[in-house]
């Protein structure tokens, strides 16, 4: 960059001219990866593209996907909710038990969602009154909630009666014979929450708190309220996923949803949500959870031992983190801020 001789040389005040590079959305990497993988699998194993298989895949992606949407908000706020999977299970168990007790399934479902939101509220209140990161608080509540669901279900599968009532037929139904109902809820909620994160005051505050909570507080952003609402949102979404699970499966088994919390975090990270807060992408998380499920399903189709699927999910998360990190380091280096990394 050249400097003209007429301008006074004020060291430090001239900023880098804004680059003209086209800014690709953060989700691009994951989306390209997903498309390539689906293409590759369709070519290797044409049965992968069967409607039945795709329908199964979508159904498996929807529930952890819902949790991933909430997790995007929590991660964007530079926090993490470890209790989401347990809240999912407790909400499902509670809804199922209420149905057994004879309460209208729709009402019981509503109660399940409210229970999820309540668990989020408890997490949030603990986090803001004790001024602890949500990760620490939810590490504790995770076990508490898990313990409660074990007590509630007595370690047994809970199967509410009335499998042909409206609630169950709606949620286990499929649109156009392929798309499970859970998927439609997932897609609609993802779109809505994407708008909430990027286009509303609440979403703005979540990003602001995640980017620099100190600066947010000094700018007058009500940070405790934002943290509380975000954790309540996460809980409510976990509750929603729980009752959809009851509706779609017709029962709740003890181990259900045990891997969802980690899947949700992995999906959010793969989709470009930054663990250091400030940036999040709901659409990215949708792509992320699809990517994870495609890989799991591919391993199944290609007869890889099921035990390897957990390993694969973890490896993919590490890969996504590494790619994201390397990209950032490369960009910092180009911007001339390379020494930042040197300091750690």
């Amino acid at each position: 960059m050249t400097r003209t001789d007429t301008a006074p040389p004020l060291a430090g005040s001239a900023n880098r001219k804004p680059g003209r590079r086209i800014r690709l959305p953060a989700e691009t990497g994951a989306a390209v990866g997903l498309a390539a993988l689906v293409g590759l699998l369709g070519w290797l194993q044409p049965s992968f593209l069967d409607p039945a298989n795709l329908s199964l895949l979508l159904g498996q992606a929807a529930l952890p996907g819902l949790l991933a949407i909430g997790m995007v908000f929590v991660l964007t706020m530079r926090d993490i909710d470890l209790s989401a999977g347990a809240a999912f299970h407790l909400a499902a168990a509670a809804a199922a038990l209420l149905m057994i007790a004879g309460i209208d399934p729709w009402l019981a479902a509503l109660a399940g969602i409210a229970l999820g939101a309540g668990l989020g509220l408890i997490n949030g209140l603990l986090a803001i009154t004790l001024r602890l990161p949500a990760m620490v608080v939810t590490l504790g509540t995770w076990w508490m909630i898990e313990g409660l669901s074990l007590v509630a279900g007595k370690g047994q599968t809970i199967a509410p009666p009335g499998a042909n009532s409206g609630f169950f037929t709606t949620l286990s139904g499929k649109a156009f014979a392929v798309v499970p109902a859970a998927c439609i809820v997932f897609a609609l909620l993802a779109l809505a929450m994407h708008v909430v994160l990027h286009r509303t005051r609440f979403g703005y505050r979540v990003q602001a708190v995640g980017s620099n909570s100190q600066a947010a507080a000094y700018a007058g952003i009500p940070t405790p309220k934002v943290r509380l609402l975000t954790l309540v949102l996460m809980g409510a979404i976990a509750g929603l996923a729980g009752v959809i699970h009851v509706g779609a499966q017709g029962s709740v088994a003890p181990g259900d949803g045990s891997s969802f919390m980690l899947l949700a975090i992995a999906a959010a990270i793969i989709g470009g949500t930054s663990l250091s807060g400030g940036h999040g992408s709901v659409i990215g998380a949708v792509i992320g959870i699809l990517l994870v499920q495609v890989i799991l399903s591919a391993m199944n189709l290609l007869d890889v031992d099921a035990a390897w699927s957990t390993f694969a999910t973890g490896a993919l998360t590490v890969l996504a983190l590494a790619v994201d990190r390397l990209f950032r380091m490369w960009r910092n280096l180009r911007a001339g801020h390379g020494e930042d990394n040197l300091l750690g």
């Binding site: 004020l10 001239a14 900023n15 880098r16 100190q214 947010a216 007058g220 400030g278 020494e339």
Partner: protein, 512 residues
């Protein structure tokens, strides 16, 4: 040991992106002497030091250390050469014991375990030499600022460096603590240590230095031995900042004094502050002077709702009392701009996002939606008005320090503030941006804001304020206005008994 200089810096240049920080820097440090580098913040002092410490690499130029050409590519290389560095942010761990801070990453091992006994043995003499009688097992945070600074120096000295570099080591210290630091440095010089001492306080640099280099805009503009410095040159360096402050603008000529809205504080106490009363009118810049611990920062925190008041009453121009939270303050158009940019800036977010902080983030009225289009419009307007040389979508963290501070100011200007609390608003930024920010502060006052300005740089207070309130140990120690406002007068008020004016200071230097 030869008598040739220990360090040569020749034509060193460094730029960050398009920003030239060091342009053509030359420096020669003699053995066994204290060499002061003075210049406004932003002139390139810190970068020069980081180059010598191996934290930042120079783009061009050569460095010669101890007669040999040296490439200092990382902090370890600097350490191996024998360059000890005490940075402005010393990188200490307040929660860890003093000993752990002294031996960070270099803990002596005994059978594979960290040997506390050996750490004690190795540090005992050094600490005594520095006049530090502290419990080495106490957490560092329990020590005073001067002691912490000396610990940072001790840590550098444990390496047995041949050149000790100190970046603005007394910025957090008061007069007495500074004198103590200087005594230690003179003692080290007596033992043959060479030192590079960077500062933006000329008077202190003159008091300690054997040689002096003045740098401006990344160049060395003057380099001389202390004794050879003529009084006219001294005066010239002193006047570097004279033209910094814009003339006062005529404020609100239509309103008579008594009708102007005012902030009335009576008997306010809380934190270190006790029983403080004063009033500030719209259109006025009221300076708040006080050392660390004088209660000025508590006053600002109280007025901004960041801290609870213990006693007293405050009436803001809108008729209400103290805000209970920062959110309430922001909603009532009370704003706080701090020089601590970590408290004001979202580095990884765009300028447009940052500028929406208060308008969208703090308020609970207006649209519930965040419109990127409106944010861009807002950003374009403020970028134009404040001459922030960047695009709205640029991450705020990539701006220069001055640009970042302008973004922080701009986000508050968006709401049309009534009361503006400034806590060292121009800390650590270059002269050009400083001037622009000073002009902005004047403008805010002229447009009818009540401006309270706190700064550790007394010249900033005397140059900008209409009157200055001086605080000492939590109490209002006095008020000066008009022609009475000069640095010496102010110093007497904020640090009574420790500074007896400038004459005393130079005579003390003569003795030492």
């Amino acid at each position: 040991m030869s008598d040739s200089p220990i360090l040569f810096v020749r034509n060193v240049a460094r730029r960050f992106g398009g920003t030239v920080v060091l342009e053509d820097m030359n420096l020669v440090i003699e053995r066994g002497s204290i060499h002061a580098v003075v210049g406004e913040s932003g002139a390139g002092k810190s970068t020069l030091i980081k180059v010598l410490a191996g934290i930042v690499r120079s783009d061009s130029g050569t460095i010669e250390f101890d007669g040999k050409r040296a490439t200092i590519s990382n902090p370890n290389a600097a350490r191996k050469l024998g360059i000890g560095v005490v940075l402005q942010q010393a990188g200490l761990f307040p929660e860890r014991p003093v000993l752990a801070n002294l031996f960070v990453n270099r803990e002596p091992l005994h059978n594979g375990l960290i040997s506390r006994r050996e750490m004690e043995a190795r540090s005992r003499d050094l600490l005594r030499q520095l006049g530090l009688a502290v419990d080495v097992h106490a957490p560092l945070g329990e020590l005073g600022p001067a002691e912490r600074q000396l610990i940072a120096i001790a840590r550098a000295l444990l390496e047995n460096p041949r050149l000790l570099i100190l970046d603005d080591p007394h910025s957090a210290l008061d007069r007495r603590e500074t004198d103590r630091l200087f005594a230690v440095l003179r003692g080290l010089k007596g033992k043959g240590m060479s030192m590079l001492y960077a500062s933006n306080r000329l008077k202190d640099a003159l008091a300690i230095a054997d040689q002096l280099t003045v740098i401006r805009n990344g160049r060395d503009v003057l380099s001389k031995a202390r004794q050879e410095l003529t009084t006219s040159e001294e005066a010239m360096i002193g006047q570097l900042r004279q033209s910094l402050f814009p003339l006062p603008l005529r404020a609100m000529p239509t309103l008579a004094g008594t009708l102007r809205p005012q902030l009335a504080v009576s008997g306010l106490g809380g934190g270190r502050l006790s029983d403080v009363s004063f009033a500030a009118r719209a259109g006025e810049i009221v300076g708040l002077a006080g050392l660390a611990g004088s209660g000025v920062s508590d006053l600002i925190a109280l007025l901004f709702g960041a801290q609870k008041a213990g006693a007293g009453r405050v009436r803001f121009p809108d008729g209400d009392g103290l805000p209970k939270t920062r959110t309430e303050a922001a909603r009532r158009n009370i704003c706080m701009i701090s020089g601590e940019r970590g408290n004001g800036l979202m580095q990884d977010k765009s300028i447009a996002f940052n500028l929406a902080n208060v308008v969208v983030g703090a308020r609970d009225w207006g649209s519930r939606w965040y419109s990127p289009v409106m944010a861009l419009g807002r950003a374009a307007r403020q970028i134009e008005a404040l001459r922030i040389r960047s695009a709205p979508s640029t991450p705020a963290g990539s701006l220069s320090a001055g640009g970042q501070q302008k973004v922080i100011i701009a986000k508050w200007l968006e709401i049309g503030p009534q009361v503006v609390l400034l806590d060292e608003p121009a800390r650590g930024i270059d002269i050009g941006s400083k001037q622009e920010i000073y002009a902005l502060i004047r403008q805010m006052a002229a447009s009818g804001c009540i401006v309270l300005l706190h700064s550790r740089e007394l010249s900033e207070l005397t140059g900008l304020s209409d009157r200055i309130l001086a605080f000492h140990q939590g109490r209002l120690a006095g008020e000066i206005a008009g022609a009475d406002m000069d640095g010496a007068r102010l110093l007497q008020l904020i640090a009574p008994g420790e500074a007896e004016g400038e004459g005393q200071q130079t005579s003390r230097e003569g003795v030492a």
